[in-house]
């Protein structure tokens, strides 16, 4: 009998499977599970955005688009970056519309990494970062961010991991899974570090619109001299509740965008026209809906932050995304034990912190992209669980 497993590429084999499979399978079977394990908004895409897509279909917009995306959409993306961050991008040469940030991340890595090139990846982080680097033939170098620093990465954390092979740095703030953000000063320090070591910076700002309180998102590419050095990734999934549309984009200098476009052209051709039409509407008229959702997340954020502390779990106040990352070491359980026990006993699904990198051990990720009623009930169950260990 043929052993098909032997035929699979060693690179693919070297990538570990998702860390939540086991929990997913158990949780999917449960009737009354409250899930704080979902990495996407609970809102449905605002109606005006959905309606524009329906109208587009009625008008017969069903064709391919330019590889780089509809010019209208590229222009709207550039206007938005001018308006919000005073950044000048040329819609003809500096923008590539992709199938979600996921595709942008993949082709950015494949564009810049040669076999053996190293890319610094602060952890805990979104699970695709390391996998994409490996699949691109590069070597992901995880850099643990410190819990006592609220998981904000600093040049001091990064410096020991630099080698002559280091070619790039990947940052993702506001951060999934911690909810940490970086201030302007933090980012400026990172920018100096990038110049010092002449690194390309991939900045995944998919949660950029989701910041709370007085903290405003700082776009990394907007820092002095960073625009050309940065591959800025963003999309519509989180801020506009458009996860299933699969639509995102990359912004960078014309050379990098042209190279990324080459891969995109041969592998994806273009992002779906339906999603591109919807994205145009999101940028033109969607901001008010987005602000409303952000203000709703903010209330939930305060509720869950307060509730977890009352339940006896230490956590820092998340300022971005829609995650909170409580420290569960006081329970004496590992992240996975905690996640499994609370799922079995209290029917609350959350994600063990170590799924996002080794330094996430001792933490769990709770998503508050769910209704207030569900959050309140989940908090009661968590408190009950912690008090009855």
């Amino acid at each position: 009998m043929t052993n098909w497993n032997d035929r699979i590429s060693p690179i693919v084999k070297s990538v570990p499977p998702s860390g939540i499979r086991k929990f997913f399978d158990i949780a999917s079977e449960m009737e009354d599970v409250i899930s704080l394990g979902v990495g996407e908004p609970d809102f449905v895409t605002p109606w005006s955005i959905r309606e524009s897509c329906v109208y587009g279909l009625e008008q017969g917009y069903t064709s391919y688009t330019a590889n780089r995306g509809l010019m209208e959409l590229r222009e709207e993306i550039c206007f938005m970056h001018k308006r919000r961050f005073d950044l000048d991008y040329n819609p003809k040469t500096d923008v590539l519309v992709t199938v979600g940030v996921s595709e942008a991340l993949d082709i950015a890595m494949r564009t810049i990494l040669s076999p053996g090139d190293e890319i610094l990846i602060p952890e805990p982080c979104y699970v695709s970062y390391k996998a994409c680097a490996t699949l691109a033939g590069g070597i992901p170098v995880p850099v643990p961010a410190k819990a006592e620093n609220d998981f904000r990465i600093t040049p001091a954390d990064l410096e020991p991991h630099v080698s002559p092979k280091t070619k790039a740095l990947l940052i993702g703030y506001p951060n999934n899974p911690t909810g940490a953000i970086l201030s302007k000063e933090d980012l400026e320090a990172i920018a100096r570090f990038a110049v010092k070591h002449d690194l390309i910076v991939i900045s995944d700002e998919i949660y950029g619109d989701l910041t709370y309180g007085d903290t405003k998102h700082v776009c990394f590419a907007g820092l002095p001299e960073m625009q050309d050095r940065t591959i800025l990734l963003n999309g519509f999934s989180k801020a506009y509740a458009m996860t299933g549309w699969r639509i995102g984009y990359a912004l960078s200098n014309p050379d990098i965008i042209a190279a990324m476009t080459k891969i995109h052209q041969y592998t994806m051709l273009c992002a779906p026209i339906t999603a591109q039409i919807a994205a145009v509407e999101a940028l033109r008229h969607g901001e008010k809906y987005m602000r409303k959702m952000v203000s709703e997340y903010d209330k939930r954020r305060r509720l869950i932050y307060d509730g977890l502390q009352k339940a006896g779990l230490k956590c820092f106040e998340p300022k971005g995304a829609f995650y909170i990352f409580p420290d569960i070491t006081s329970t004496g359980l590992s992240s996975e034990e905690f996640a499994e026990k609370i799922l079995m006993q209290e029917h609350v699904a959350l994600v063990p912190g170590n799924a996002f990198g080794e330094c996430g051990e001792g933490f769990v990720r709770c998503s508050y992209a769910t209704s207030i009623e569900q959050i309140s009930e989940a908090l009661a169950r968590i408190e009950h669980f912690v008090n009855h260990l």
Partner: protein, 159 residues
């Protein structure tokens, strides 16, 4: 204050403890603010939005356009008051456009409402014309979609 009002508008039964967490203030402050809002008549009442259709109870709602002859000194206000004092009248608005008052009436049957309009409303001095429209089916009320089919279709976990 706006945030507190928005939260209560969405769900007036939220416990003060929860409101306090969400607004980042103390429970005592929440209660104090609510008491003041009630006293200042900014919060007028805490209502329940009911889908009567589902209860099987018969209620009939009619929207009535009313034309008036305004009176010296008081304009439309005095007649409006004569109208809104009736228990049957749920809502009264002064309108711009082709009629003056929009009156919403609830009754047990169409007969009931028609009778009220004919004998009580149309006969008020200063009322020159009424046009009644009976409500057939509510789709959305006060921002709430009555039969909302949208549900959470997300996977139970995702990273």
């Amino acid at each position: 204050m706006r945030e507190l009002l928005e939260l209560l508008k969405h769900d007036a039964r939220r416990p003060a403890k929860e409101l306090a967490s969400m607004l980042n203030i103390s429970e005592y402050e929440v209660e104090e603010k609510m008491a003041k809002l009630e006293k200042d008549k900014i919060i007028l009442s805490y209502n329940t939005l009911i889908n009567w259709e589902k209860t099987g109870e018969n209620t009939v709602t009619s929207i009535i356009e009313v034309n008036l002859t305004p009176q010296r000194e008081v304009g439309f206000d005095a007649i409006a008051e004569r109208i809104y004092r009736f228990d049957e009248v749920r809502t009264v608005y002064l309108m711009s456009g082709s009629f003056d008052l929009l009156v919403i009436i609830e009754g047990k049957s169409m007969q009931d409402v028609a009778n009220f309009v004919a004998t009580r409303l149309a006969t008020i001095e200063g009322v020159t014309q009424t046009r009644s429209h009976f409500l057939l089916k509510p789709y959305k009320k006060d921002g709430i979609i009555i039969d909302d089919k949208e549900k959470d279709r997300r996977l139970v976990m995702s990273i």
